[in-house]
Symmetry: C2
Subunit: 209 residues, 2 copies
Amino acid sequence: MVTNKNCINRLSKYKNALARLKSLGFVKVFSDNLADAIGVTAAQVRKDFSLFGLSGSKRGGYNVDELIKSLNEILGKNKVQKVIIAGAGNIGTALMNYPGFEKEGIQIVAAFDISQDRQIEAKIPVCPLEEMKDFIRKNKIKIGIIAVPDMAAQSVLDLMTASGIEGILNFAPIRLNCSGDCIVNNVNFVFELENLIYHVSGLDKNKGQ
Amino acid sequence: MVTNKNCINRLSKYKNALARLKSLGFVKVFSDNLADAIGVTAAQVRKDFSLFGLSGSKRGGYNVDELIKSLNEILGKNKVQKVIIAGAGNIGTALMNYPGFEKEGIQIVAAFDISQDRQIEAKIPVCPLEEMKDFIRKNKIKIGIIAVPDMAAQSVLDLMTASGIEGILNFAPIRLNCSGDCIVNNVNFVFELENLIYHVSGLDKNKGQ
DNA sequence: TAGATTGTTAATCGATTAACAATC
DNA sequence: TAGATTGTTAATCGATTAACAATC
């Protein structure tokens, strides 16, 4: 199994690019086209595809429909992916209302929070945190998002993994310990900005400021 | 100049770990301590430090205060970093209210939106998008966040770079073209979840489901 | 057929890790 | 001094790119 995050990421990008190309009337594409579309080399595209057993024909390139179908399968697009959110604060709420999930077959099915007066502007039910465990089990949820305050993040993760969650997207800016068959991806806004600050400071220094 | 994103990221992690260690009373640390704290090898820590000219003493490790000071300088913590947001929708608002920025010296100074009835729950002024250019110039803002709908993202980027922005954090899930001395970091929630979906589907397959 | 493109192998590049001399 | 730790060089690992035979 390929675990390189950048590589999986490129599959998502290929998928998006192919949807665009299809809508433009493309029936087949060459590694060149896709490379240009997502900003990598043609060799990279062919290498990625061979890694996942995606093949084309020597002279005719890749069939757009087949490629989309295969990528969708790899990325779990053949069924609706149910996701829950822990934490109905600013970020949790933004994710509940995020318009980009639906057309990608990602469905936020519920949110959980200790505070109950948060039935605000979301179309999605916000339930007490105590109900999370049962909900995950009953609905066989595999993916959870952590958007609770730092202090609560580790215990929420423990609760999630104990209930059967296998993949977590964590927005709390602390290091979480995860045991067993569960992977955690972190999104850290401060780190993202610090990275930009580093680059910008470097730029300015080179200009002699 | 080091451009490896993971490496810069580790600097942020070292900084955070050092703050914790300092609060626990540590005056000096060894590469070993920091390695454990952020989950890398001691060799990685020493390599990173040598890359940025951070040095310790052969037997006595690194001085915590000195290290914090140096890292703060590299990451631009010696002054308040002013950031603007384009787009006062769900994500933009969440970022305006994000509690983690202040203590890191990151200040969201203004948001801009085409729609004006968004003076909602934010402490930060939401201004018309037409005022963005002047604001960036007058206040010498170098960093901007794009949280507008996909359709508007490229034109907002062009506006930002034309006004003097040098670093952009983009939340719109499309590929943006950026010319010249400006770097763009992307945060894509769908990709993050698709990555998890891929891993989870793989896990389940191995279990024979 | 001649030309173009894939699929794969080998080469390169970059990042991480191991090893160890220097030295506190 | 003896022991422990840094700083750096060399080795390893992994990912990307180049090259090219196979072939449509």
